[in-house]
Symmetry: C2
Subunit: 746 residues, 2 copies
């Protein structure tokens, strides 16, 4: 490691880009001020100990402060005594009654080390063929003056932002410790505009609020009355990451975390324009149990000069460890359909009977009266297999195949599923054989109902069953309150579980798509069999009352910052009432739904509607057939959170399959997608990403002139024209609309 020390005293603050201090200073330097610039020197951080020995950082973009002096550190649990009179009357010992231990001041600097790193790596799947990981690094080594306990803070400054993490080295007085709270501050220099969802330890399934940071507590109450199967709000100042902000100067600043492993997920608490970390507690209120040597996840502050540059940032992935799997040959992108939307909308059911309670070890399903609404039945599944096979899909998800759905989430039920036993009308052997004969793989479904111990008890057998029948991907779900009660979806205990499910799956060569799990933090770089996550408000909410059109223009800045989302686009029938009596309306045009296949990146991409709903629109459905799901190159052509997205992508030839392969294999192709919010907009963009000199046939799937997500969502027009790299395209997007374009060199 290149090792040199740069110490810049206060008296030479003009050196190395040290600008004037901002007006509002919460912390006065009490040590030399260290400066860490980005490789392109547009960003830099100042790091120092303040007069109390508290570690502090500041972040600047050129002349502009992005983060004012912000303190770092922890409050730890004090020493616990295990004997004596640790009770009071009828009260159980509470965490707050233990003396805390402040580990956020009183430090002295042991050493400072700088380093530089530059490499390019290739993801197993992704938005581009290769990713550059380029940063300057500073290791700030601290010792607590009172007791010699050690804590280091590692800073990595990229051109697209700052990452830092706490590191607790080996061989020191601190060995086992419990976090009461992480005290990381993000003191924004301005009262930024923010796209945020309420802080919640159990759910991310919210629409986004747009407000200034200082307005969050006022706006908060109006944002929480949304249906979630499990929810734990903690403060009207609470918001979640990835938090996208925009400064008055037009900088896009995003706070998130990277490489969340064996640590509670970080939420934020807003006070004015200041944010601070607020970790997810365990059942007793503690926020992390650690053992040295160890590191925290990276805390990230991405800074971009435009919305497009924010989308281009791969800082979260870069801060994760390289791939940990020796063999990734079995991991592949998947375009799939599902026996799913009809249950979500209410046209069918997951359960097989109307029994009020079923005990899996004694209930006799064979003798039970079917409710006649069970979607995962042999005939229906075969219909989907036929349609998926005929249209060149890779796979078919079937939910509700296994016994137990009569009383799944929030029944406080431990043994809710066995993940092994099909309902009587689901012939797992025959259906897999039939699907395989047609080139379709079935996608396993493991809804856990958040009875996590029960899932782990059955996991090995469940994965082995998948191997037996040839399933190679599983959608897992965590609906309802976590059992044991008191644990939270985003606490350390569950974070540990989600990764356990992924690493155990890898041993079985199984890809995981976990719903209701903790939000992604780039771990798919290290474990690329984590091929998808929900962890946000997905398409299903279009059947749960509907979702505002702007939602899909925000997700790529927030939720997708950490990894791909199984958003499940492709709804062609917006009138759920007529179909199945559901009062919800799907707030999107068909063209918008097509655009999502490009704008909402995922290597696991669903066509979520039913064969019946696609049948009248097979010309539009052609785009879903043609589009790839894994890419060698991506161009963000236009972007603004809450307004619109236009993105162009070039397929990765090596991972093409099915109908996408038929369209693109050996051909020079691109796909462009666009979506808008509730406003009609025109997308104008040059095709300069095309290979110069070649002519491409463009098939443009656009909203019809009279299209409107509320009144006329199914009106689209498909036009074909030949274009070259010197051409531009202009497409009208209806309210709640969008467009999709396939481009194939002639």
């Amino acid at each position: 490691m290149k090792r040199f020390i740069v110490l810049i005293s206060l008296t030479c603050a003009l050196l190395a880009g040290c600008k004037t201090q901002p007006a509002q200073v919460a912390h006065t330097p009490g040590s030399d001020v260290l400066v860490l610039p980005s490789p392109n020197e547009m960003l830099y951080a100042k790091v120092y100990l303040d007069q109390d020995g508290a570690p502090v950082y500041e972040l600047f973009h050129a002349d502009t402060p992005v983060m004012l002096p912000s303190a770092l550190g922890f409050e730890l649990r004090g020493t616990v005594k295990y004997q004596g009179l640790e009770y009071s009357g009828s009260e159980i010992l509470k965490p707050d009654e233990l003396p805390p231990y402040m580990f956020n001041s009183g430090f002295e600097v042991v050493d400072v080390t700088f380093d530089h790193f530059d490499e390019t790596w290739e993801p197993v799947w992704g938005e581009e063929k290769s990713i550059r990981n380029h940063y300057n690094e500073m290791l700030f080594e601290l010792r607590h003056k009172d007791d010699g306990k050690l804590m280091n803070i590692r800073f990595r400054m990229f051109d697209d932002g700052l990452g830092f993490r706490y590191e607790f080295p080996d061989g020191q007085p601190l060995v086992h410790f419990v976090i009461k709270e992480e005290l990381t501050e993000f003191n924004c220099a301005q009262d930024n505009l923010a796209w945020w969802i309420p802080g919640d330890f159990d759910s991310q399934e919210y629409e986004y609020a747009t407000s200034k940071l200082s307005e969050i507590p006022e706006v908060f109450p109006s944002r929480t009355n949304q249906y979630n199967s499990s929810t734990t709000l903690y403060s009207t100042g609470g918001v979640q990451t990835s938090l996208q902000m925009k400064t008055p100067e037009g900088l896009y600043v995003n706070i998130h975390e990277a490489a969340l492993v064996d640590y509670p997920c970080m939420h934020l608490l807003a006070e004015g324009k200041n944010l601070r970390s607020f970790l997810t507690p365990d059942a007793e209120g503690w926020k992390g149990r650690l053992e040295t040597p160890c590191v925290t996840p990276w805390r990230t502050i991405q800074v971009a000069e435009s919305a497009v540059k924010q989308l281009e940032s791969r800082m979260i992935l870069n801060l994760n460890e390289p791939c940990a799997l020796d063999d990734v040959s079995w991991i592949h992108p998947v375009k799939y359909m599902g026996v799913w939307w009809e249950m979500i909308a209410g046209a069918g059911s997951w359960d097989y009977t109307n029994a009020a309670s079923v005990k899996l070890d004694s209930f006799d399903y064979a003798a039970a009266k079917p409710n006649g609404r069970h979607s995962a039945n042999n005939a229906n599944v075969r219909k989907y297999i036929d349609f998926a096979a005929a249209n060149g899909f890779d796979a078919l998800l079937i939910e509700g195949w296994n016994i137990g759905w009569e009383e799944w989430a929030n029944c406080n039920k431990d043994y809710v599923f066995d993940f092994l036993t099909p309902y009587p009308d689901f012939d797992i052997d025959a259906l897999n054989a039939y699907a395989h004969s047609k080139g379709i793989k079935l996608v396993m479904h493991h809804e856990t109902s958040s009875s996590v111990r029960n899932y782990e008890r059955h996991m090995e057998a469940a994965y082995s069953l998948m191997n037996k029948y040839g399933y190679d991907a599983v959608k897992s779900g965590y609906v309802g309150d976590i059992q044991p009660l008191g644990e939270r979806h985003y606490g350390q205990w569950m974070v540990n579980h989600y990764l356990y499910a992924v690493t155990e799956a890898a041993k079985h060569h199984i890809m995981v798509n976990a719903h209701e799990a903790v939000r992604p933090t780039g771990l798919c770089r290290t474990y690329p069999n984590l091929i998808g996550n929900e962890s946000a408000r997905g398409t299903e909410y279009q059947a749960f009352g509907g979702t505002v059109p702007e939602h899909v223009t925000i997700l790529p800045f927030t939720r997708l910052n950490g990894g791909p989302m199984d958003f499940t686009p492709g709804i062609f029938e917006q009138n759920l009432k007529e179909w199945c009596g559901n009062d919800s309306h799907v707030n999107a045009t068909i063209a918008n739904q097509l655009g999502l296949y490009v704008t909402m990146y995922s290597p696991l991409q669903m066509a979520a509607d039913t064969p019946e709903h696609y049948a009248p629109f097979m010309d539009a459905f052609q785009f879903i057939k043609d589009v790839a799901v894994d890419w060698d190159e991506t161009r963000y052509l236009a972007a603004e959170p809450g307004d619109l997205l236009v993105i162009a992508r070039r397929p990765k030839q090596s991972s093409l399959s099915g109908s996408a392969k038929a369209f693109s294999a050996g051909r020079d192709t691109w796909f462009v997608g666009g979506v808008t919010d509730e406003e009609a907009r025109t997308a104008d963009f040059a095709l300069d990403f095309l290979t110069p000199g070649k002519t491409y046939e463009a098939v443009i799937y656009a909203d019809a002139p009279d299209a409107d997500y509320e009144k006329n969502p199914q009106a689209y027009v498909i036009t074909r024209r030949n274009v070259t790299a010197t051409d531009s395209i202009s497409v009208e997007m209806a309210r709640g609309g969008g467009f999709a374009i396939s481009l194939r060199a002639l």
Copy 2:
């Protein structure tokens, strides 16, 4: 089922033994009073609804009220809403903020059914060859008048006590529900003398207090400053079951529970002379998650006219379900030694290095410096194997064989053990081969450090490893706070786990001896591979400061009421200071320790001291070699909790093994044991249990005249004489002493 109804109105209260009401009546009958007598009609219960529709019972022994009117029922969690503003400022939703639902009044009687049952069954192992299960039963079927929810209460009246449980039938409005508190009252008729330990959701490892019920809150604080690795006290009125009491009239009354399955363990709360149930909470404070149809464990009130009759009671076993295992041929009693006491006392260590932290997936034990104190090393284990084999034992326990002990309990560590990897100096393959070559089985040890998820994740592999090497018994341990934090050793989540460990073990033909687990409730009848439990203050505390001598005279009335205890008797060297610098003194004479092999029933019986400590006393050790551990017949010759015990037992010929087989096989033998408290006492008893007309050689292992547990614990005398059934024996027991006798027909 025999079905008849007996309804006795208030106006015919003189019928069927209805006695005058006690002076203090908390509940006035509002319905007919039902009477359920015991088969011998000495005991009877009255059952009725009071004027509020609350179910009430009373219990009488002959003319004497034992339990005054005591109410039954529950407070349940109210309906939980999953949406809306269920937060307040920065507060997380707390259970108490939900509206409760009282399910303890407002009932009407649906039906009452009486039944009678009489059968004799044979336990796989036990204190006698066969057990009579004989009771009158009444099913009290109730419906809540407001909402039609159903709750039945099933009463079983034996000659030795009353058992009742709540039953929630199928097909009713109550399906899934959460208990806030079980409201079962035990309103004692008198201010009984009680032998009790403090109510604690995590530990039972206390010495017993002896006080009147009304004195419990006053005495409580002086009883809690005892070392426990995990402890959660809840009230100064809290006590645990099995609670042994003695009425002023001399009746022995014991409150416990039977068949604790998937339900929190019941504690008690004392208020004056009244007791009520106080269930172990989960992390959020709830006390049980149930789904109809379901039943609670049995609540038991044993009533005996003498201490001996209390010990003769098999009511707890009788209230458990018959054996659930088809094949029990692999289950067998075990007399064993252990590489254990030297670590407990401090002469050796479980850990192999002095490393402050070890991460199992990266720490290099092979390269680590050994601490030189590791007891589970090849040479030491071979020494124990040699000694155990030479003396006809069945098995040898070795603790500290596997990696991870450097930081085990209460380090808040998730991945603390893998249960698979031996320390470098423990050659699992060679040691098992060596042991087997000498007729010794090794006993596996699975300390979990209460990291329960981690244990379950490794359980299948750990049990499979045992099968591979031929281990057929495991001692498991749950030292330290339960992880996830907030769960308790005696909560429903853990109760579920302990049984899971037993049933999974049965699949592998493995016997389980769980330490620090929930106290036994007779489940060994149903799962006889649950061959032992600690779940009380065992011999180890003699090295943790010592235990008062009376402790062993109380345990058979309390802890052993639910099943056998792995008490680990047989300490011959009381001076730990001289041995290894431990300041504790073992408060027992050698003769007392021998007596425990008879008085402290267990089919898994240890000789806990080291070969070196036995070597000088091999004449006394002969009793440990000769004594059996499984019995066809037991006679309680003298008993008083806190004072003394004298018990005689006749071996079960079919389960003899090793040196016990050499002594008893094909012979008519008996063993007698006696223990006293801190007072010297004379045990006088007739030998009328011997076969008339036969002459037996009696070998009497008694305290020497100058023996004293404090001053001269190793002084014993061994005498031999021939006796017949018409003889009596008188033995002097020293302070903290006892005796043991083997009797073999000539």
